[in-house]
Symmetry: C2
Subunit: 254 residues, 2 copies
């Protein structure tokens, strides 16, 4: 398949590399800045472009992987093409790509960082298509890079994205706060590695609610009071109190 | 070694099983309720007791693994013994065990659930002893069950415990909130498994701050606004706003 990427960020980079690896031709990479387009284009043997007028009109797929709020403006500047347009955004309806009719979404449920390689085979990809035919073609493309492809409506996709913000972005921020607390006392963060791994591994096998441990779930007021006293950053104190309260409520110890 | 356990909860259970496995004799398990004492005692071939007066005085180690606020009361009821007393609490100074002189702490940095087996070899164990001799003896005991044993002062232990609350208890609660959001829409939680795994795996290799992704770190106000609208639970909305604000501040995009 011939694929054009609109955007050259982390999602575009990892997806383009996987599609290339699977035997597809990445014909172009567009970015507002040619330098960024070139960074990804060079890795996948594509032509870098910084003007949407220069887009190849004969590709099979145009994959939009840009910031959500940039997407509508880009769509208005798109030349007309016959290929399928699909974006990778969790919280954006596919209608953003109208009036192009062959439109859809190809949402990878994963956290991508430039420096970290990922195995696309394990990444759940969620497909939506304006028509059954478009959805099927997108699914076929997706199945070239992942063993974990599903159809999902836009309404459910945005719920999944919201849940992912909690399970990934917010969980990671909890690691960050832990890391800050430790570095102030010069305790190395890697000591938490087995704990972080086990916390994640547990919820593969049991409900996260049942996996909950710690002072908040066992209503250990004394420990929580000590912890609040140890935190000199008011924002960390606020997070500590609020999340502890939420744990308490969810566990039914209200 | 002859070991007595004071307490029969998750930490006591997993540690007693590991010590027994390593060839030690668990001579007694004390719990306020004989039934609970028996549950663990039966698994490790120990005598269950529900009265501290019945404690064997000839054990080498007495390991206190009870709720933090119960510990002081139990200590006042302890008979005098010649063996070492050690507690497993992150946030409690070893002075809670005075006037007994051979006192210390043996703190396992892990999350334990009754239903989930753990491999103690990988669990970091942190040792504190009132004297160098006590610390060394505790370290020897700890090294029978873990390849990851370190001395750590009580002051640093409580910081580590606080950090663990964020990295484990609070991260797990983020999984719980994600699970609630998904179950309302009948989206199965296991779809998040690869994401949760990758989020944890990333911070083994890179700083959590550098691993941060999502709308808050890229200041995607539009997505965050949509997410807040999707959340009908005020507590989840409050957590979403507060944690997003904290991510924003930590990432320096203020």
């Amino acid at each position: 398949m011939k694929v054009v990427f609109i955007g050259s960020g982390n999602v575009a980079t990892h997806m383009a590399l996987a599609l290339k690896e699977a035997g597809n031709a990445i014909v172009q990479v567009y970015s507002r800045t040619l330098e960024n387009a070139k960074l990804l284009a060079d890795r996948v043997g594509a032509e870098p472009v910084d003007n949407l007028k220069d887009l190849n009109r004969a590709a099979d797929f145009y994959i939009f992987s840009v910031k959500d709020d940039v997407l509508p403006r880009i769509v208005t500047q798109m030349p007309s093409t016959t290929g399928i347009w699909a974006h990778t955004a969790g919280s954006v309806p596919v209608s953003v790509l109208s009036p192009h009719t062959k439109r859809g979404a190809l949402y990878p449920l994963q956290t991508f960082s430039r420096e970290r390689e990922v195995d696309f085979q394990d990444i759940p990809l969620f497909i939506e298509g304006e028509s059954g035919e478009t959805a099927t073609l997108l699914k076929e493309l997706a199945e070239m890079i992942s063993a974990n492809v599903r159809f999902l409506s836009g309404d459910k996709r945005r719920i999944l994205h919201l849940a992912a913000v909690f399970a990934c972005n917010f969980a990671n921020h909890m690691y960050t706060l832990a890391s800050e607390i430790m570095s102030e006392e010069e305790i190395p963060f890697y000591l938490l590695n087995p704990l972080i791994n086990e916390t994640a591994a547990k919820v593969i096998l049991m409900e996260p609610k049942a996996a909950q441990t710690g002072p908040a779930v066992r209503s250990d007021e004394k420990v929580m009071q000590k912890h609040l006293e140890l935190l000199n950053d008011p924002l960390k104190r606020e997070i500590y109190s609020l999340v502890s309260r939420s744990i308490h409520i969810v566990s039914g110890n209200r």
